[in-house]
Symmetry: D3
Subunit: 134 residues, 6 copies
């Protein structure tokens, strides 16, 4: 618990002295966790109206994940990052495609939600490496 | 760095086994950090078009902070929480009002942005206490 | 009919000389009436595609009710109001929770829609008392 | 005051037994009142950042007025209404154009805000006539 | 056909000296094509979750078609256009109503999607005539 | 040029049998033309309120360009396309960055708007090649 709060404080102070604004892959991750949780609930429930709401909300979350990832890819990452991490373009493309897959047809499979979280974790790792190197 | 990643993992596993969905005050905090950062940049820049964009984006961020806080207040917190934390209603009301103040007239004062972050930190502390107690 | 138009004119002139902008609980009420009407239509119709649209639109209306109420609670009502009406925080919290309940799982019960309208009527009554006292 | 509350109750019961959903020109009117109020405040204030926020919010309100009017014109009014009120198409077109004018260049003139409210009052009158005739 | 395509090319370069900005009925047409395509897919698929997503996305597209048409009707077309094309008000009203019909109850009939495209084609023809005449 | 225009006509009729839905780079192009037009108008006008509106609308258009390009990049283009056009990832990244640049600080230079249109034209060319090859 203490370590979490401590880490959080570090983030905050790191953000403020940056000229390029505030970015955090946590925004995409939180929405992706929501998708995975919704898939879990869909498995337990056959009520059509419940499923409608779940599918609708999952679709919205999927759009939010995509949006947060697109913003990182376009606004945060710069040419030197793409040179240092040549896989970064493809990683973002796969992650946003996976947000669509987990939010769409494949969405009843919990593994699809986890796969999305795994892609985001890879992006998160690179993101914080570039922050540490800045 | 390690402690941050570790804590993050704890969050993720804590979210998934909850029946009431995924919530995280980090969403409000990240947008509030953005407001504070924008106030900082406004102090350094007299270009009218830059100021227009900054004021516009700050206004949007202010709406996002309010929205994320409102969702927590209405959807996450339940009557037993409000009994245990009798200050919680007022705290949320002050925090959302402060989001408006930091996004609006008072917004050129960096202290307004920090005050918003302080309110969110208080909410964050209570939020994680209720999660730990669940 | 005459009385309605007359009252409306009073509202308009009352709004313009206020420094704090234009607010009206009617915005939340109109969306809540829509929720109640949709629940009524859902009871009469088993077509799955119709139900999907109805559930979707009801969900959106629920978000709009919450938004209009949150704006009143944060932007219109001030500390002196909360002192004079100590139940106001809880009333808004219950009303926005009810907007979620009537828009969500409990939504097939017409009584849920009416309960939402009743909460909004209570808020409306207090709102116009504060306007009259201003 | 009594007459207003009474009239309001009539509205509510009139809405619920309609098969075509809930409509109310009050939605457009409330946003238009906001535009007129903002124009009034702009006249009193030369602070560039305040003006930016006012212009931004007025622009949003203008979009909301247009949206509420368009919905009435497309979704509520039916061919028999347009036959009975041959001026209705042009009235809506002028009203939505005026929403743009009051939200845009002409917006510093309070008369533009009032002109928008006058158009909406004309629509409101016809709207309630068609409700009474239904 | 050739003249319209030619006009399009001119239009792109001509936008900058126009006082009325950039408009193109293609925006409404592209969304309407999407509606027609979705109706086609709904006919081939009984999976309830797929249908939910399709109905949801079709509903959103319907809103987008309406919005793009409303903008043309209010912001692009001027009184002289309505004089020269006296059917224009009714054409737009029918087209936006049809966007609702194709996005709503009647939406399982591919002919409804085509009918929407036909209305938009009529508007498109008039639009480019007015551009050529400008 | 002729072949692309011809393909467009085919495309409209061909949308329905496509599994991936309806896409068209024209959506991004139309918004980008709007950005370029707004930059042109900003050069001619010193009225602060006009500039505020122009900067605000340009910012919104910039978001729309980015959104339409992101959707193409994530939802339309597939791994085989990225293999055949190895520059495609970088092209989209540059184009969306340019949408931000033309919508943001660099936005007073008409060349920035044209540069955005040039990137979109490159994407448009590849898009129609892939459609023709499908």
């Amino acid at each position: 618990m203490l370590s979490r709060l401590f880490a959080r404080t570090i983030d905050v102070s790191a953000h403020c002295d940056l000229p390029c604004g505030v970015y955090d892959p946590a925004q995409a991750r939180i929405e992706a966790e929501s998708i995975k949780a919704i898939i879990g609930k869909l498995a337990d429930n056959d009520d059509p109206d419940f499923r409608t709401r779940a599918v609708l909300i999952k679709e919205q979350r999927s759009e939010l994940v995509k949006h947060h990832l697109w913003v990182l890819w376009t606004d945060y990452f710069k040419p030197p990052h793409f040179e240092k991490y040549p896989q970064l373009h493809e990683l973002f493309n796969k992650a946003t495609k996976q947000a669509g897959a987990a939010g769409g047809k494949g969405s009843m499979d919990p593994a699809e939600g986890q796969k999305l979280l795994d892609y985001i974790a890879q992006i998160d790792k690179i993101f914080w490496e570039t922050k540490a190197a800045a």
